[in-house]
């Protein structure tokens, strides 16, 4: 339960992880690990194999307007704690290596993050729409996408 970034940092160093930018304390998790998106694939392996975070809870994205953030929530059965991985992505073409070879459960989470936030996951096995219909062109969870009250709207049914 207690945040313990030193332990994570020590373990990462021992495992020879590259691309770790910062290990911050985080309430409710062992640490929040900031990493460079280029070294994602290798780091995922380190976290799963060396640190024992075998379970990927979720993948999410945040639109910070000037940049995107992608975060991964991991859980370790052995030490019973969470850790958050987080990477800042470029605002123009946000993309990062997929985590689904490491954690197969990332498949659907990444599909969701791609379709709602607009973060592209490279080498994803099946990156297609999950929640919205095929061909939907917007990414609703981006800040620029605003909701508004529906006005009177006429719907016509057209048979094809």
């Amino acid at each position: 339960m207690e945040s313990n970034p030193e332990d994570i940092r020590a373990q990462l160093t021992a495992a020879g992880a590259v691309g770790v930018l910062a290990v911050e304390p985080f309430d409710g998790a062992a640490a929040r690990v900031k990493f460079a998106p280029e070294s994602a694939a290798a780091l995922f392996q380190v976290f799963r194999d060396a640190l024992g975070f075998t379970h990927l809870s979720t993948v999410g994205g945040i639109d910070w307007v000037t940049r995107y953030e992608v975060f991964y929530l991991l859980w370790s059965d052995a030490t019973k704690r969470y850790v958050i991985l987080s990477a800042d992505l470029d605002a123009k073409t946000p993309h990062i290596e997929t985590a689904s070879p490491t954690w197969p459960s990332a498949n659907w989470h990444e599909r969701e993050a791609w379709e709602l936030v607009g973060i592209h996951f490279d080498h994803h096995p099946d990156l297609r729409h999950l929640l919205m219909p095929d061909g939907y062109q917007f990414h609703p969870l981006q800040r620029a996408f605003k909701l508004h009250e529906p006005e009177e709207l006429e719907v016509k049914v057209r048979h094809v």
Binding site: K92, F138, L153, V155, V157
Partner: protein, 206 residues
Amino acid sequence: MSAVAPAAPLPAAPKPGPVVGPGGELPVVTNDVTFVEIETLRSREFLPAAKEALSAMLKEQGESKLIRPVFNWAGRNSLFPLHWGLACCAIEFAAAFGARWDAERFGVVPRSSPRQCDLLIVNGTVTWKVAHKLIALYEQMPEPKWVIAMGNCATGGGPFRTAYSVVPGVDKLVPVDVYIAGCPPRPEALLDGILRLEALIRERGE
């Protein structure tokens, strides 16, 4: 227009004009009129014929003062709703068929096939993705048929009406006979709505 066409500047700005997915599942936006394209295999064939047959039958019945009330009585006392759960209201819909409220008392028995139903109870949020399926189901039901919009999402989108994916009211897609307010309505409120529909059928003499 709801959020299907946000005015927001986006990195990959969509071209104006119809937005059609491969399955034709997206609402098409042109000049504030939303088309829902549906691909119904059977409905197109039988629908005109069905309407014709029904009107002929009703006309015939209209001449007979004896038969028409009998059929009206039968029709309103044996409403088979479609066994279809959309969202939260579906749980209360199920509870209404549970032991405590037992909607079967009124002859209301859910059937799984739309062919055997008279009543479409829209019990939950209708999204644009499911809109054309809803219309197809409605069209697969034989005449005469009725629609109850159960709960606020079906009535007017409810708390989700501002969302980009939600149809703000199922009356945009199919004609609604009775609205039931509630979020979700109690099972009693659903029964009340069904009784209201029965009264309505008697009133209209359908």
